[in-house]
């Protein structure tokens, strides 16, 4: 049989979308994705549901959607790696004949009027009034949110390899240049390295322009068998390979936490399954909660040797017209923050050739990453507009 394929993409209004629950946004995204595929909602017989930090969308979404009989129905959460894990799970369910048409959705609505993005994404663990015990000592230690913890990781790289803040800035600048041509992007005005350097510190060494946006909204994809997808409304986006790897922070001597991530196992696994090498990749849509996440993922995937990510991203390599098309919609830094659905949605658009003014010159092979925790959970997808036979071990 052929590989599974993404046949539909649904994206709701994104950003400062107030007054709607995450569940309502999720339902709309699934409906849009089915319509995009040219399928009635009744054709959906699998539902994988994910949501943000509040985990406030469940499988009750099936009730909201009044779905027909489902062969697969579950919530999934691997933090920012979830989108890739959902698509791989859908592909496996289809190969196992548990379902034929699986909707995978992410929805989140953390933003509220008159509240900062930082407040919206604050860690509930540290919002408690009572400060006690070892947790109180930890709170007083001050590493209380992802900004600070990712900055801790970035600092290790800066110290170990001589990577500079300006090199991180090159990633932000390149992505903003892509975002300029993305009608879905929240931030489209061009920026320079100087703007990056002048933006306020969030957690030094990370500037404001090293950090992602926070968005309300929902994104869904419809996964079905590749040969079936060919007969549907939109050009199929075939799933050639997948990988996932998880490695919790090892807080002990010898740990390479922050310097090497589970991407180093997930990426090569996905490429191996796809039967290609990293040099074959035309477009990389990389999870970018921070600029540093892009840099370390490029290294771990093997686009450049470990430690050379800083010089690799310089000189506009990732920007429109550069040698490698990376985060062609602006990513989470400049477009919208829908966890792993941000890179996945843009990959689908690019694979279909629907990128308009931002369409990358070649789109035969796309690599999509998801990252969660503090560089602890990773997923990878290899996608292509071209069909491919599934390796025997997957169908067995």
């Amino acid at each position: 049989m052929t590989s599974a394929a993404i046949a539909g993409l649904g994206i709701t209004e994104l950003g400062k979308v107030y007054g709607r629950s995450a569940t309502s946004l999720a339902a709309e995204a699934v409906r849009l994705a089915a319509a995009d595929a040219g399928l009635p909602l009744s054709a959906v017989d699998g539902l994988l549901v994910s949501s943000g930090n509040k985990q406030d969308v469940g499988i009750q979404l099936a009730n909201v959607l009044s779905t027909g009989p489902l062969g697969v129905c579950a919530t999934m959460n691997a933090f920012g790696a979830t989108a890739g894990v959902m698509v791989a799970s859908a592909a496996k369910a289809i190969a196992a004949r548990e379902a034929t048409t699986v909707a995978c959705v992410f929805a989140d609505a953390p933003l509220k009027p008159k509240e900062s993005a930082g407040t919206a994404y604050g860690s509930p663990r540290f919002n408690s009034r009572e400060i006690a015990g070892l947790g109180g000592w930890s709170l007083a230690g001050g590493a209380v949110n992802p900004n600070i913890l990712y900055a801790m990781c970035a600092r290790r790289h800066l110290e170990r390899y001589g990577t500079t803040s300006e090199q991180l800035g090159a990633i932000a600048v390149a992505q903003r240049a892509w975002a300029a041509h993305n009608p879905l992007a929240a931030m489209r005005d061009p920026i320079t390295i100087e703007d990056h350097q002048a933006s306020r510190w969030i957690a030094e060494p990370l500037h404001l322009l090293d950090c992602c946006l926070v968005s309300n909204g929902a994104v869904a994809v419809i996964v079905t068998a590749g040969d079936r997808a060919r007969d549907l409304e939109k050009p199929p986006v075939h799933v050639w390979g997948w990988g996932q790897a998880h490695e919790v922070r090892r807080m002990h001597a010898g740990s390479d936490w922050g310097l090497v991530t589970p991407a180093a196992r997930s990426g090569p696994a996905a490429l191996r399954m796809a039967g290609i090498g990293v040099d074959d990749v035309d477009i990389a849509e990389l999870y970018d909660c921070y600029t540093y996440t892009v840099l370390v993922t490029l290294e771990d995937y093997g686009f450049c040797p470990k430690g050379e990510g800083g010089s690799y991203v310089e000189g506009g390599r990732l920007a429109p017209g550069g040698k490698l098309a990376v985060n062609t919609g602006g990513g989470q830094l400049s477009a919208y923050y829908m966890w792993g659905m941000t890179p996945l949605s843009e990959a689908v658009i690019q694979a279909r050739g629907e990128g308009g003014a931002r369409q990358a010159p070649r789109n035969d092979i796309l690599m999509v990453s998801g990252n969660g925790g503090i560089l602890e959970h990773h997923s990878t997808l290899v996608l292509s507009p071209h069909a491919r036979e599934l390796p025997a071990e997957v169908t067995a």
Binding site: E130, G133, W137, I202, E204, R250, G258
Partner: protein
């Protein structure tokens, strides 16, 4: 922000609970209490529940020498949570104890010019909270003076930073 928040202490008052009494008793004596695996003797963080070397859950309290090196650090200038409004600007650091475990702690009295990866650090103790609402003594770290010979052990000072 209200003036009350401006006067918040540099270290929010931390209260002890049942699980941390021994840790804070040790801190009051100028001792950093960590854990040691009873099976393989790996030294672990105070919070660890499982030995990362052998998987044992039998962990005993152990006294750390209080010396280590700097793994990483971050300068925080805007309070990430209200409880740290009196703390900014502050340095949050990952410190590797000579015994092995990594701790996420505050680094005090360090100028950014003198900080670098692998810098030697030593434990210190500061009083959390302020007059009206005083909390436990908290282990923090500071750069070891370059002229301090490591075999004399940590200089333990009690008091507010």
């Amino acid at each position: 922000m209200s003036s009350a928040e401006v006067e918040l202490p540099a270290f929010p008052a931390v209260a002890r609970d049942a699980g941390s009494a021994a840790f804070f008793d040790a801190a009051a004596r100028g001792v950093l209490l960590v854990q040691r695996c009873t099976s393989c003797a790996t030294v672990l963080t105070p919070e660890a529940r499982t030995c990362l070397s052998c998987g044992s859950v039998d962990l005993d309290a152990a006294e750390a020498a209080g010396l280590g090196r700097l793994v990483s650090w971050v300068v925080v200038r805007h309070a990430p949570i209200p409880a740290l409004a009196g703390a900014v600007p502050y340095l949050s650091a990952v410190v590797e104890l000579d015994e092995g475990p990594w701790l996420m702690v505050r680094l005090i009295e360090a100028g950014s010019a003198e900080i670098h990866a692998d810098a030697r650090v030593q434990v210190d103790f500061v009083r959390s909270g302020a007059e009206e609402n005083t909390g436990e003594l908290l282990p923090v770290f500071r750069l070891t003076a370059s002229d301090v010979v490591s075999d004399v052990g940590p200089e333990v000072a009690e008091g507010s930073a």
